[in-house]
Symmetry: C2
Subunit: 381 residues, 2 copies
């Protein structure tokens, strides 16, 4: 039985083109980019070429791109750097990823004030509400671009326009959005943007922090002065090369891939509807009325036992997430479902299905077959 | 002409066995270790197996190993975490890597007191002097195990014994030592130890922070709770797998490889001597009378022009370092040479030669041939 991987929002495979770009760095291109000899220069050029490619995907200039080891490092470093001591105010949302929420809580414990704007029932925050939360001592507004669980796209462009006009710095964690929808830093108008390599077919262990002006960004790590002094530590050349290739890959034909993935979503919706009617099951697609990522469906199955569903799906070789995937095997109702006031009888068994470039129509049809079987088995327990 | 890479202290190539361990993670083993399904479990097992291998090399328990993105992250995180606010006292040395010296300076700017113990003329700090620098408010003693430029081994075991007996926490940045000499956390008796993957044939972009007790280590990054809550961020599974394989590789037959590399050092010394006498050149091997890494020679060439030497060696396809390699192309006298009061007429043209497992006797002989030619060309400029 073919394994059906429907957990692309948790992580993606490394695509062959990405791997190809990495392999030379695991073979002969092994120099330290800081070394003043041929091996070093070659590695330095590799990093530089990758930086151009990442910048091109985001509509940024290469010097605005700082490579990090992951989105979590970028988010932690930005919050830590902008709030070095107590006082000042951070505006964020109740549906951010833990890599924002956890450091925000740590800042709060240290005396920084934090406002967490709640979303509506569709899982979307209101731009004006975010602006209204800002105060004279607000130092940063941080709102994710697309939610990892629901796929709901947040009005970051509008937030940046409103808040930017009043002089606030705006950050967006675009980890789930880049590579899935067009993300252009000029169109968005943000000051900072976080990108996660392993959500767009680059390997785990590389990310990017975009900074409109390097002067507003405190150093993430201090050491050998790499990344123009903003992130010390020998560059992860293979992963950076991979991230460059991944950005190049998703940039080419993004619109075509988006419409293909939307098509998979339509099949998903149609088949889910058919399944529900066939089995006599009550389902709720969360954030249904919001603008969403083309690859994500977060579905509540009324009255089904989550643990049993996961068990049956595992037996059927179907990989999906319950709640948010990255957070250590917890199956309690996620903070996102809670913040959006999702109806408890659906939220108790909510599964996230997310697909990607390798996913085919047949995969979606097979998924639905196995999902239907699982629902029936669990219902008849 | 075969390129002669004598810059293993800057970075090492990824050895084939290491690459082999990584490749599955760039192919089918692509799950997120936090995902509760087969793909996730497989990745989780990969991380766990690698942790066992790293622990085995260091004589540690697996739960004492925290994976990081590099040694710089480990060093920064430890210092930042142990000194969250002003006050308290840090004892370190004047010859540490910038990934200790730079965050230490940042702490100092924030009101932490920092004592930097200076080494003797052999580039070695005295254990009793380090202890004498400790005060009731000393929160950490951080002394590198082997210096990256001179290769001089510092008396970390003795420091840990003396300082530990008085209740001080002791850290060692063992980035240049692990894989080159036996490094056992129990023998050393340290509380924290930093390891850099790319100095021991793993790829750039992975490191380890050993912590004797997890309770004394503040979280390095906050997010999804990975690494037992000590380092959030999706694990860099391919690099972690590579680091595990690298640790396994260097652990097997370490003594044999050490004696082989010592042999290369003897050839180096003999041929350098012959070269100097033949060309009528005055050379000084720094830290000659110290216990040194078996793979490192830091040599001052009296009266030669450093830039020209580097140029000639580059033309001859010889990769070496001047000063410290990782610090961005600076050719001024390094902080290490300065701290050990190296004679200025030698320090002005100091080259670091460092070799590794792939280096052969023939490579050393070829190096000396090309080095001799370069010296003669530069002298007759």
């Amino acid at each position: 039985m073919k394994a059906l991987y429907f957990d692309y929002n948790a992580t993606t495979p490394v695509l062959p083109e990405v791997r190809e770009a990495m392999l030379p760095c695991l073979e002969n291109n092994y120099g330290n980019p800081s070394s003043p000899h041929g091996f070093g220069l070659k590695a330095k050029l590799t990093v530089s070429e990758a930086r151009n490619r990442v910048a091109a995907l985001l509509g940024a200039a290469p010097e605005q791109i700082v490579f990090t080891s992951c989105a979590t490092e970028a988010n932690n470093g930005l919050l830590r750097g902008l709030f070095p001591e107590k006082g000042a105010h951070l505006v964020t949302t109740a549906i951010e990823h833990p890599s924002i929420l956890a450091p925000a809580a740590a800042l709060e414990a240290r005396g920084v004030e934090v406002t967490r704007v709640r979303p509506n029932r569709n899982g979307v925050v209101d731009a004006q509400t975010v602006l209204d939360a800002c105060r004279p001592d607000t130092r940063l507004v941080s709102v994710m671009l697309a939610n990892n669980e629901t796929g709901a796209i947040q009005p970051v462009g509008e937030i940046a326009r409103l808040a930017g006009a009043e002089g606030y710095l705006v950050h967006t964690d675009a980890s789930q959005a880049v590579g899935k929808i067009p993300v252009d830093v000029e169109t968005l108008g943000v000051d900072f943007l976080t990108l996660a390599g392993h959500k767009l077919y680059a390997p785990k262990g590389v990310g990017t922090l975009y900074a409109r002006s390097r002067r507003t960004l405190p150093p993430l790590l201090l050491g050998g002065g790499q990344e123009g002094g903003l992130r010390g530590g020998t560059e992860n050349v293979p992963h950076i090369a991979g991230l460059g290739a991944a950005c190049e890959l998703v940039r080419n034909g993004l619109e075509r891939e988006i419409s293909r993935q939307r098509g998979l979503g339509e099949i998903f919706d149609r088949e889910l509807d058919r399944l529900a009617r066939g089995v006599g099951l009550d389902v709720l697609v969360l954030s249904r009325d919001a603008g969403r990522l083309p690859n994500t469906r977060f579905v509540g199955f009324k009255g089904l036992d989550l643990a049993r569903m996961l068990e049956e799906l595992a037996l059927a070789d179907v990989a999906v997430s319950a709640g948010a995937a990255c957070h250590g095997g917890e199956t309690s109702i996620s903070h996102v479902l809670e913040a959006m006031d999702a109806p408890a009888d659906y939220a108790g068994c909510a599964l996230r299905f997310s697909w990607g470039r390798p996913t085919t129509e047949q995969d979606v049809m097979d998924l639905m077959q196995r999902l239907g079987d699982a629902c029936q088995t669990v219902r008849s327990d």
